[in-house]
């Protein structure tokens, strides 16, 4: 009963994406017996945390009618810097996490200023910060890979936030609880606070919003700061999930998040979108990522599919508008 009510709340696009998720799970389970196992579920979830965090943030610039391409290389770079402080500078893990998130916020501010104040096209401005962050991490940390403390050590306890491993080896993916909580919180921010309201208003009609006396610049920058903040959090999740962070990786991560958001109904031209939709869209991408190898396709097929799905999602909107 409760389920039905929750499902009833999903509107058009979200319900459709939810249907796709169910269909994918059934398809994969049917084709591959190993897919139906608990470790696979954990693996899907492990792979989804950093992407989910990215999408929670990047949905905001997307709704303003912009985009943030810097989150992918950004999160790797922030995780590198955080890890470097912990491993090579012997700082507490807390400081590393703070540095990771703080860097994200800083780059978010930079993006916001470039777009909202200096008026650069968002895709170009963030393409540049994408390259800058890609260089920044290795440049500051000497270009070596970094491993955050392992879960076995005391300093590595932070990894339990995402995946709890009990004494007898039982794995509990509690990260999903955290993700759902964040989805609810950001959904609230987008739909029930000024920040969200003005984000949508800017994407809908920036001039009219300005005429209504809203400090458009501030809220426009804020959208990118939120994106940066969550890229920082995604960096922490990435560091917690994967053993080692390699410099130079991260290019293309942003596409999983942005693609997911657009699949989930966030409009590439701004003004439209929900956090729940974006979250569901990301799950589609993550399922492809993890699921395709189970049905005998190489993992990289996921990239091709993501590209095609992205175009298809936008084309659906274009065709709808024509009618």
């Amino acid at each position: 009963m409760v389920n039905k009510k929750a499902f009833g709340r999903l509107k058009g696009r979200e319900a459709m994406v939810f249907g796709i998720i169910v269909a994918m799970v059934i398809l994969f389970s049917f084709l591959s017996p190993t897919f139906r196992t608990y470790p696979t579920l954990v693996s899907v979830l492990d792979n989804s945390y950093y992407i989910t965090l990215m999408v929670l943030g990047v949905t905001f610039p997307l709704i303003t009618g912009g985009v943030d391409l810097s989150i992918g290389t950004g999160l790797v770079s922030y995780a590198l810097i955080g890890g470097y402080l912990i491993v090579h500078q012997n700082m507490p893990v807390g400081v590393g996490i703070l540095a990771c998130v703080g860097m994200g916020v800083l780059i978010g501010i930079l993006n916001g200023i470039l777009v909202a104040v200096m008026d650069l096209p968002p895709f170009l401005a963030t393409l540049c910060t994408c390259m800058i962050t890609r260089g920044l991490g290795p440049a500051l940390c000497g270009g070596f890979g970094v491993s955050w403390p392992s879960a076995l050590s005391e300093a590595g306890q932070f990894r339990y936030i995402f995946k709890f491993i009990s004494g007898n080896g039982t794995v509990v993916p509690i990260g999903i609880v955290l993700m759902l909580a964040l989805v609810l919180i950001m959904s609230f921010v987008l739909e029930h606070t000024r920040v969200g309201r003005y984000t949508i208003a800017i994407g809908s009609n920036k001039e009219a919003t300005k005429l209504a006396g809203v400090n458009v610049k501030f809220y426009h920058i804020l959208a990118y700061v939120i994106s940066g903040l969550f890229a920082g959090l995604a960096g922490v999740a990435y560091a917690a999930t994967y053993a080692t962070i390699y410099p130079g990786s991260g290019a293309g991560f942003e596409l999983d998040a942005i693609g997911g958001a657009i699949v989930g109904g966030v409009s590439a031209s701004g003004g439209v979108g929900t956090i729940v939709g974006a979250f569901l869209g990301v799950i589609v991408i993550c399922l492809m990522k993890v699921g395709l190898p189970f049905i005998g396709l190489q993992a990289n097929w996921q990239q091709i599919f993501t590209g095609i799905v992205l175009i298809a999602a936008v084309l659906i909107d274009v065709i709808k508008k024509r009618k």
Binding site: L114, L120, A125, G143, L255
Partner: protein
């Protein structure tokens, strides 16, 4: 200053271009000085040129797209996709060298058609198309090569003749070809109907449409030209460096766009300069080599190129704002 600007010769060559050339020369001298003269050595010059060729083709290609007011930042990964797929076909399936080279260009053209069709006929925002193409190119390359890097034949082997495209017995064939292609691009852009319509629709698409011109066709053409040049760029990449790895190529997007925008092509469309792009490409290549020569890693290249694009685009944006 005004006097110099009004000088007939300066006007003819273009003040901005003269400034750019001066910047390039100064940079060259500065790097030479900072490295104690070693930057003037032949190997650095060769490296710079090798870098400038493939980057130059990318930059020329994207100049056409930006002239329409669009953008394509899938060019780097698409270039790698061309080189990987055709190279892997050659090495694994024994496709002859000539066919592989043709295949490289064709793959570029295909991506150009795909991008152009979606942007022009379906009005999908160019940045979305770029993102999708980038992913698809990387995915295809990785799937096709099973994520293995591909090494094209070395000069000594029987198939190594393709490396002569870059240099033959020390003679910089690449430079000649690159400049020749640039001249062709300049002619296409300024002397033919293609270029005329591309520039005009970048400036005011609706007015051109109402003049009875098939704007969709010409807009798509710009992306196809870009794709073709990206295919050629892939040949020059392997001819210079032989080895290609799947999953990379993003950085060249920025460098190519940087060369283009620095050369005076406006991001708003309608205004493009091939000679500016050529100079811009040499500046970027010099910079990349200079950074390495000074002992910095490639990470600094990323950062500095990023900053340069921001600066170049900002000056373009603020110049337009002043005009209005």
């Amino acid at each position: 200053m005004e006097k110099i600007k009004q000088n007939a010769l300066v006007k003819k060559v273009g003040f901005n271009r003269i400034v750019l050339v001066c910047v390039m020369l100064l940079m060259y001298l500065a790097f030479g000085g900072l490295t104690g003269g070693s930057f003037f050595g032949l190997s650095r010059i060769t490296n710079t040129l090798n870098y400038a060729y493939f980057l130059g083709f990318l930059s020329l290609g994207v100049t056409f797209v930006i002239a329409t007011g669009g953008i394509d930042f899938s060019i780097g990964p698409v270039m790698f996709c061309c080189a990987l797929v055709s190279g892997y076909s050659m090495i694994t399936y024994g496709v002859p060298m000539v066919l592989s080279l043709i295949m490289s260009v064709l793959i570029g053209v295909l991506f150009g058609v795909f991008n152009g069709y979606l942007v022009a006929y379906w009005k999908v925002p160019p940045f979305i198309v770029s993102m999708a193409s980038m992913n698809i190119a990387k995915g295809i390359a990785a799937v096709f090569t099973k994520t293995q890097s591909v090494s094209w034949p070395q000069s000594a082997t029987s198939d190594g003749w393709y490396r002569n495209f870059v240099s033959m017995n020390g003679f910089p064939v690449g430079l000649i070809v690159f400049l020749a292609v640039a001249v062709v691009c300049a002619i296409v852009l300024n002397q033919t109907k293609w270029g005329r319509y591309i520039l005009c629709l970048g400036s005011n698409e609706e007015a051109v449409r109402l003049s009875g011109v098939n704007v969709k066709k010409w807009k798509m053409l710009a992306y196809v030209i870009c794709g073709t040049l990206v295919g050629i760029a892939s040949i020059y990449y392997v001819a210079a460096f032989t080895t290609v790895q799947p999953g990379y190529g993003d950085q060249y997007n920025n460098e190519a766009i940087a060369g283009c925008v620095m050369g005076g092509t406006s991001m708003a469309g309608g205004l493009a300069s091939i000679s500016g792009t050529v100079i811009g490409v040499f500046i970027i290549s010099l910079l990349q080599q200079g950074i390495l020569a000074l002992g910095f890693t490639k990470e600094y290249q990323y950062i500095i190129t990023g900053l340069i694009v921001i600066a170049a685009v900002y000056s373009d944006v603020s110049a337009r704002r002043r005009k209005n």
